[in-house]
């Protein structure tokens, strides 16, 4: 979504001339219900960390109903051609071919700072993933630590959790919901507040691979 300074200025003037009154209870209840529905359906984008509503996802049943029969025929023909091609190639290269090993995610990632000290770990436990902090410095004020993961590079990083650390948080664990598999890269950042994307100006304290 794009917006310009004209729109922001007009919105500020509209705000200045609007007396905010209490929301009627019945409407508030409806909006909170919608909020719960949206919150439960929210999905992480794998590119920008933006929340995406489920109405952006086309249900498969609907997609199938709209597919003409001749399309299936074309797909079947294409699949047959590909099968024959792959079969011929495998026959020619059978003596050299080796099956690629499946990608196995490590059970633990270490996030290390510039001095190669491990400041946090993200570990898999009981099917879920959790983070354990090592030697993070306590943060004052609104500052927060935030964890990011990506299946590729920094461009594809999404936020998976943030936390405050007002006192010593060494050895503490925190739950993480990781929407990406497999994880290739991790980052730990510090900022005043929560960021929705791993921008260049964010201070990266530690990285992991």
């Amino acid at each position: 979504m794009k917006y310009d300074s004209d729109e922001i200025s007009e919105a500020a003037l509209l705000l200045a001339t609007t007396k905010s009154a209490a929301l009627p209870k019945s409407l508030e209840a409806e909006l909170l219900k919608s909020a719960d529905e949206f919150g439960s359906e929210v999905r992480f984008s794998t590119t920008k960390g933006a929340a995406v509503g489920m109405d952006n996802v086309i249900p498969m049943a609907r997609a199938r109903a709209k597919t003409p029969t001749w399309v299936w025929g074309a797909w079947a023909a294409a699949a047959a051609v590909i099968f024959v091609g792959v079969h011929s190639w495998k026959g020619a290269a059978s003596t050299q071919a080796k099956l690629a090993a499946p990608v196995v995610e490590p059970s633990e990632w270490k996030l290390v700072n510039g001095a190669r000290e491990a400041v946090a770990t993200v570990a898999r436990a009981d099917g879920a993933r959790k983070g354990t902090l090592a030697v993070l410095v306590p943060l004052r004020g609104p500052s927060r630590y935030q964890i990011w993961v990506s299946p590729s590079d920094r461009e594809g990083a999404v936020s998976v959790g943030y936390f405050q650390c007002p006192e010593s948080c060494k050895g503490q664990s925190f739950p993480l919901t990781l929407p990406i598999e497999p994880i290739r890269s991790l980052w730990l950042t510090q900022s005043d507040g929560v960021s929705s994307s791993l921008k260049d100006e964010l201070t990266v304290l530690a990285t992991g691979n």
Binding site: A11, A12, L13, S20, L23, L27, E28, A50, A51, V194
Partner: protein, 215 residues
């Protein structure tokens, strides 16, 4: 209500902030500005958390901005059923576009007002018939809004240096009127409306930019 009459009613030659007893008063003629000192909104933004998929922040948005969104919708519509639909529409747009919020550009409440205004104008124009009574009237400034929202205060205060006609044009535009509608209702040429708008909106933009730069 005739929008020009509405605008004149709120700006009868001076820029006067509707104030409660004991609150300082602003008068453009005397060029006296004695609004309370600008204070930062202490509330932590919710939209970055919404963008990160924090379900509790989605709910908090309703609690924090429900009254504002409802009040904004009431300025554009009269029918309560339409207002409720519009509020649902606005919040959905807000949650989906949470990642577009940039705290360095505007306050969060300003962003909420921008989304609300955009959705309301879209809804009304999609009907192809904008009922006169449903148009957003130009309203006097609200002291609570000026105190709570720094952008609102800065923007409104920046209009002090504008002529009355310039102020009316930009406030009508902020309330959802197109330039041609403003031209018709104020009985001034469209080109004049555009030049008035440009001068006034530039003042507001500069004031907001200066405020952002200094904070």
């Amino acid at each position: 209500m005739n929008p020009t009459a509405a605008a004149n009613a709120f700006f009868p030659g001076t820029l006067a902030v509707a104030v409660s007893p004991g609150r300082p008063y602003v008068n453009a003629k005397d060029d006296v500005v004695s609004l309370p000192a600008v204070t930062k909104n202490e509330l932590e933004p919710l939209l970055p958390r919404v963008a990160c998929g924090d379900a509790s922040a989605v709910r908090e948005c309703v609690v924090r901005y429900g009254g504002l969104v409802h009040s904004l919708a009431r300025r554009f519509m009269k029918n309560e059923s339409d207002i409720e639909d519009a509020c649902q529409d606005i919040f959905l747009a807000l949650w989906k576009n949470a990642s577009a919020y940039d705290a360095t550009v505007a306050g969060e409440a300003t962003f909420v007002a921008m989304i609300s205004r955009r959705r309301m104008i879209d809804r009304l124009r999609s009907r192809r018939e904008w009922v006169e009574e449903e148009r957003a009237p130009v309203a006097a400034s609200d002291p609570d809004a000026l105190e709570r929202h720094i952008d609102a205060r800065i923007a409104y205060k920046s209009l002090e240096g504008c002529s009355e006609e310039q102020r009316n044009v930009v406030l009508l535009s902020a309330s959802g009127y197109s330039h041609s509608e403003i031209s018709e209702s104020m009985s001034i040429p469209l080109g004049t409306v555009k030049s008035h708008y440009k001068r006034a909106i530039e003042r507001v933009q500069n004031a907001l930019l200066n405020q952002r730069g200094s904070s």
